[in-house]
Symmetry: C2
Subunit: 441 residues, 2 copies
């Protein structure tokens, strides 16, 4: 278990020194600005910098707002290049320029690295990577390699896999640090070398990057340019964050909202603004469903019991559609790509829809007959529910792949848009079946 959260600042310097930056960040959330200043003064430079990374964007902004560009540059200088680029990227543009200038005067190389990283879009391999790369050449021996790595000992914290390059500097594989450390000093690298099986270019989308980590069970991924020269490396902890981000994105899309909500949890007005667009589309869509009912008002007035089943039809249409969409949505999200099997998926969902719609239709039909004492009503709702559920399953199963081909996130297919469409089609089917059955009596 992690250490208990301390909510009053009765912790001494030593305790704070041994705490993980993530726990200090928790402590930060429950203390006052005065206590923040005290904590910052106790921490050493490295911990202070790490703390920055673990704070909420908002608290980070507050904390950095109190500091000069030179002080920010000093703090950020302790970070790995990707974290440094992320922290600087959040600052206002003028402050960014001043902080980068301050870094440049101390360490021109670092400033260049950070600038290069800031140029990559945040949601690509380039945006995730860090510029620190521990690499050795294929021709070396174990002891030569270790000697070379000692030169960049500052970056040893994440040196679990060492990249190996050929004479042209091309990335050709990895050596595990443990194999290197335990090898005989004169062993050639070739003996403990593992040829590369995967790398990415900087423009690759972060979702694809996350899927590669999951597929190959790796903890480091090399980022290369077109000539297989190493640009940087992506560490698995940054990928865990991507994973959490993508899960948030999908979940909010499924309810017709956006993961931006998480940033505005304290602002109901912003939340309303984020949620309204889909709700308004849904409002219009469901009014169209209402219009469909209105068209059949004659039938409804003559047989008012039929309105009893309007909520059943819309609820079941929506739910069945979302269920049928979900398998495809999850397959896409997890990289279990089934592009080739859209038709198989459609076939399966149609049959599942029939298996589901059958019993539900019969059950509702029998229930309606007993309730209203009219087998006409029972027949109408049984046929309608069966048809509606089968059709909704088909629509739900097609929506994710259609959205995907249009470049829209398939997760939307479980959301209000498809649900509303299914409501509309469901009510149309219900009214048509009712009119048909009643007119043929």
């Amino acid at each position: 278990m992690s250490e208990d959260e301390t909510t009053s600042l009765s912790i001494d310097t030593q305790t704070l020194g041994t705490m993980h930056a993530a726990d200090i960040a928790d402590l930060f959330e429950h203390t006052t600005p005065t206590e923040h200043a005290l904590i910052m003064s106790i921490l050493d430079a490295e911990k202070r910098a790490e703390l920055l990374v673990y704070l909420d964007a908002r608290e980070r902004r507050d904390l950095l707002g109190l500091r000069s560009p030179a002080q920010i540059a000093e703090l950020v200088g302790e970070l790995e290049s990707d974290d440094a680029a992320d922290v600087i990227g959040e600052l206002e543009e003028q402050t960014q320029i001043r902080v980068l200038a301050a870094i440049e005067s101390e360490d021109p190389n670092e400033a260049q690295e950070v600038r290069a990283l800031m140029d990559y879009p945040a949601d690509t391999a380039g945006g995730l990577m860090q510029a620190e790369i521990a690499s050795i050449t294929f021709g070396a021996t174990a002891s030569e390699a270790l000697e070379a790595l000692r030169a960049s000992q500052d970056d040893a914290d994440s040196m679990h896999f060492i990249f190996v390059t050929d004479q042209q500097g091309r990335f050709i594989g990895v050596v595990r640090m443990a194999r290197l450390a335990l090898a005989h000093p004169n062993s050639p690298i070739a003996e403990i070398f593992e040829p590369k099986f995967v790398d990415v270019q900087a423009h690759v989308d972060q979702e694809e990057v996350a899927q590669l980590f999951a597929k190959y069970d790796i903890i480091t991924l090399a980022v290369v340019d077109k000539n297989e020269q190493l640009l940087g490396r992506i560490m698995v902890d940054d990928v865990l964050e991507v994973w959490a981000q993508e899960a948030d994105e999908d979940a909010f899309r499924m309810v017709g909202s956006d993961a931006d909500e998480l940033q505005y949890q304290h602002n109901p007005f912003r939340l309303a603004f984020i949620r309204l667009p889909w709700l308004l589309i849904n409002l219009v869509g469901s009014a169209a469903t209402g219009w469909m009912l209105y068209l059949f008002q004659g039938t409804l007035i003559d047989h008012i019991v039929l309105i009893t089943f309007v909520p059943v039809i819309t609820a079941m249409a929506g739910n069945v559609g979302a269920q049928s969409a979900m398998i495809m949505i999850r397959n896409y999200a997890a990289g279990r790509d089934q592009e080739r099997s859209v038709w198989r998926h459609l076939g399966r969902e149609s049959i599942t829809g029939i298996f589901i719609g059958g019993p539900c239709g019969i059950l509702l039909g029998v229930g309606a007959t007993l309730w209203h004492g009219s087998w006409h009503v029972g027949l109408i709702v049984a046929i309608s529910l069966f048809l509606v559920m089968t059709v909704s399953a088909i629509i739900g199963s097609l929506a994710p792949s259609i959205f995907r081909r249009l470049g829209i996130d398939p997760a939307i297919a479980a959301g209000p848009f498809v649900t509303t469409a299914n409501d509309l089609i469901g009510i149309a089917i219900y009214m048509l079946v009712a009119a048909t059955v009643l007119s043929s009596l």
Copy 2:
């Protein structure tokens, strides 16, 4: 990018030898049983074993079904203990016993390790951990530590962090392999040691384990017993799998289904069976909503235009509720625990509900007045939609924490159960508002 998939078996021995087991598993899915046998005969023992881990459960079963317990024992012997336990755990009980006996005759220690791991529930820290632990004592020097680790060189593949124990064998911290390898041989471990900030006991739930990895950005987590003795370690790649599993579980629960669907993707009958329970509850719930309409049939017959807005009320109630539930569901799922702030959450969602319900109510009211030429209808739907959306937001915001306290997955709160409850309450509000406004005219 990963190497292209080869769909015909035109690959030579050498190519296969350098392929990652995950890619060979892909290849397996697209080849015939005869080709499978060929591939297996080409691979070396270690790759063959690794391939097992990357295959689908179904293909693994087919592959192992052809082999004797002794052959399975030999294959599994190449795996890390957690993978071995998982593979054996999937076999039939009689085969399990025979395979374990075969392992025992070769290596009694390994058999004991695997048996111990198989006793832990799969979804706990114990179920995730492997028994291989590289550990050294705090008093050693770097060169002594490396010497000690050479004895367990077989397990070097995942030796990124070395656990450090005190004289009583208690887990007290870690040393990074890179720091150890690059340290001066006579350096005491104390110099490169990092005191422990987290560990878990074997019974801890896998979701909590995954959250610890995300919180602390770690790649290895120590599993200890009550006396802080090391039992095993959990690696981040196994946690990525947990993450994917939990995401699947939540997603399917949100549509009133179950992640078991993924195992039965080719069996529509099973799919229907998995989806039906919630649909039937939903069927009854939405019939209750219909019954509510039926109670007010007098009002509806006299003012048939009111039925136009039934689908609007139910659709908006459901969507708003799911949106309000989602923030809490995601906070819980990602370990952004907000138990203390249920009331703050409720307050915020109520206000958001008002901000959303206001414009939607006014819009629908104006639209209804223009459409049906009756400001009574406009007034009724405006008041109703406003109330319904606000109340649904409140219910949606409370449901996840109520479910959680009852020991139910909060993800269900975005599913059909709450949606159906909101439909029912929504229609009740609509009809009561209609009856009240109409009777006061």
